[in-house]
Symmetry: C2
Subunit: 413 residues, 2 copies
């Protein structure tokens, strides 16, 4: 049995006409000889509307009830999609996350998949039926409805593809694939045909919205090829998959940006062993995710420590930082919400020195000041003022990715 | 543990303010010392909107997918109500039909409850929590989502009350109780304080919308007292419960009407044994519910048979009747959609002759022709022209139920 998992996002299932369009994509794969398992999100802005209904009633709704509420949107999508498929003469069966055997832990609103008991889905596929599964949701080991957090439908799709032994996972969205930069910011941005898991992970972590990082990580671990494409056009999309080491690859793949973080600085932290560990384990224990961390050299026995957190976590991270600063006898805590992060990603930069220098020069030429720097083997991120972010993305894109051929020329630097 | 089950209909949970109002009703019972299990319907017209979405996609949606779709509304209600209760400082847990252990047969869109595995609900109540259960839905023995048909939330509530051993079941709706007639048709209609199960069953079967007949039947079999009241006022409502035989009771309880039926007549049916059985078992095998049946005396070896069916079933019942008429060598089949049924209900009429005569006289006085008559020990129904129905209801109500004291005076006839 040759299986493909197809995932359709919220805009793809918003209204009867779009649902019929999705049904046609599924039937196309079926006619190619695949057994099809489709994963769908809630229609349009339904999840946002449900969240608003909840906040009209409670500022702090219990996470278990939030999951009960938010899991309804996908159930509407799977039922309507099955109706459309039946109308076109195909047998289709809908499955909630629970019915599809998506077993999760009990972390409501951000549950992790523990295992997939795929018997019912496999049984439907074996009988020649199309299986339509609600994305974003599962059932906990306590038998409660859970959700996987924003973008969780991608995770459902890739995890199911792995569990079912699918040939590949096709993710339909409202853009035509993965681009060298956000086309709204860089009009000359180009669609990429192929991106490695590692590059896609760095892109997702640094602001690219097209794929959820957890789904890419699932794909990477189990080597599941992912095809990202639009449900509204026939454009060929972008493959996210393993790239052989010896294949000729561009040095730089893409430029990304993220306005979603703030910077917190703790002044005059006593410079002795274990201090950084105490700060960041205290924050971690309170569920604050830290992105970048910078510690300057010591000056008269104290140092300044800066780090970035998501904008939503800023208030609570600030309060926690004040607690720990008091405890450590450190100085003032400062918050800066007007920052943005610009990142350059490319698997080829590992073997090409000079990429960072060229990126910094491109920013300096525009008079853009760099406030923090963080690197990985395939990524360079800089923090700059938020109001310069689009200019910075264009400058970096121009320097590395402007011309079609330049992407490959970079190898010769 | 003293338990009450409270059921809130769709208008009672339509919007944040009404949901908070429902939460206050629940907390009021809790403060009276009850463990509370609440059953809720989908908010407002959500079920109708979902049905419309389905019919935009398919004229004949698969029942299993229809149930998947329609079960979402109640899930939204239970989640939001639990949030409102938490906001007011009460611990509450929501349960889908499946989580509440409502096990049904596999008749999608009109499933029957087979058993209730109430462990999770009882466990929540024992821990002092409020249990909030999605009405109208269950899970089939095949582990598929099912719905119980229109008005199914009442059935969920009464069945749960029975299973939990509740003291009573309180059904909140948008009217203040059960009336002697529809107050929109008869301005002088009075709210009843007490109605027996049998009377309520006849009323539900003859057009009263306030309670679903299946829920009353559940109440009757298990002697579960039901209190029908409005969630929007403090009015005391109507008790539906066992009435001791020796208690002084009015002869007539209420007048009801139903515009929802059509009349089908098969002409010149051969008058021999077994013919009626063949007609009505053929219709029953095709899932057509028959209400009234009239067979006139034989004339030259043939007879005319008339019966009434719901307006929705009329087209298919007509086609089936033509089949069976052909097979039996009967004459033409006629359909009349412009009929209405007016019924007089009262447990006391068993022991009071003359009730039928008085009803027919009241109609004759207004020049309203009676086309069919059907009686039970506690009910008289007549079929008349649809355009005379409101006039007929008022005439019959005036004859039996006009004055406050007249209800009891009737005993002396």
């Amino acid at each position: 049995m040759k299986i493909v998992v197809q995932k359709f996002g919220g805009t793809s299932v918003d209204g009867a006409e779009r649902i019929r369009n999705v049904a046609r994509w599924i039937i196309e794969r079926k006619h190619e000889g695949y057994s099809v398992c489709a994963v769908v999100s809630a229609p349009g802005d339904m999840t946002d509307r449900l969240i608003n209904m909840a906040y009209e009633i409670s500022k702090n709704p219990p996470p278990r009830e939030m999951d009960m509420l938010l899991s309804t949107g996908e159930r509407i999508s799977i039922a309507l999609l099955c109706m459309a498929l039946h109308e076109m003469g195909e047998e289709a069966v809908s499955f909630t996350g629970s019915q599809a055997g998506i077993i999760t832990d009990t972390s409501h609103t951000k549950a992790r998949i523990l295992e997939i008991k795929a018997d019912r889905v496999l049984d439907a596929l074996k009988k020649g039926k199309i299986a339509v599964v609600a994305g974003f949701q599962g059932v906990s080991v306590d038998k409660d409805v859970t959700t996987l957090g924003r973008g969780g439908s991608d995770t459902t799709a890739v995890a199911l593809a792995v569990r079912l032994g699918a040939e590949y996972c096709e993710i339909f969205t409202d853009v035509e694939g993965v681009y060298t930069a956000d086309p709204r910011v860089v009009p000359g941005a180009k669609k990429l045909d192929l991106v490695s898991y590692e590059e896609m992970l760095e892109m997702a972590a640094t602001g690219a919205k097209v794929l959820n990082a957890r789904s890419v990580e699932f794909g990477r671990v189990y080597k599941m090829p992912i095809l990202v494409r639009s449900s509204f056009t026939r454009a060929s999309g972008t493959w996210v998959r393993e790239v052989p080491e010896n294949m000729e690859r561009p040095v730089i793949t893409a430029v990304t940006y993220d306005r979603g973080e703030s910077k917190i600085t703790i002044r005059e932290v006593p410079d002795k062993p274990g201090v950084a560990a105490r700060i960041f384990s205290y924050l971690a224990n309170n569920n604050i995710n830290i992105d970048m961390i910078i510690q300057n050299i010591s000056d008269e026995g104290t140092t300044d420590i800066s780090f970035t957190v998501s904008k939503e976590d800023t208030d609570i991270a600030y309060r926690l930082s004040e607690n720990i600063a008091r405890e450590l006898g450190a100085g003032a805590v400062e918050v800066d919400r007007n920052i943005a992060k610009v990142s350059l990603i490319g698997a080829g930069m590992r073997t090409h020195p000079g990429v960072a220098a060229k990126m910094f020069a491109a920013l300096a030429e525009k008079g853009i000041n760099i406030e923090m720097i963080s690197t990985s083997p395939i990524k360079i991120s800089v923090v700059i003022r938020e109001d310069r972010v689009e200019e910075a993305v264009r400058a970096v894109h121009d320097a590395f990715l402007l011309k079609d051929d330049q992407v490959y020329e970079e190898r010769e630097i």
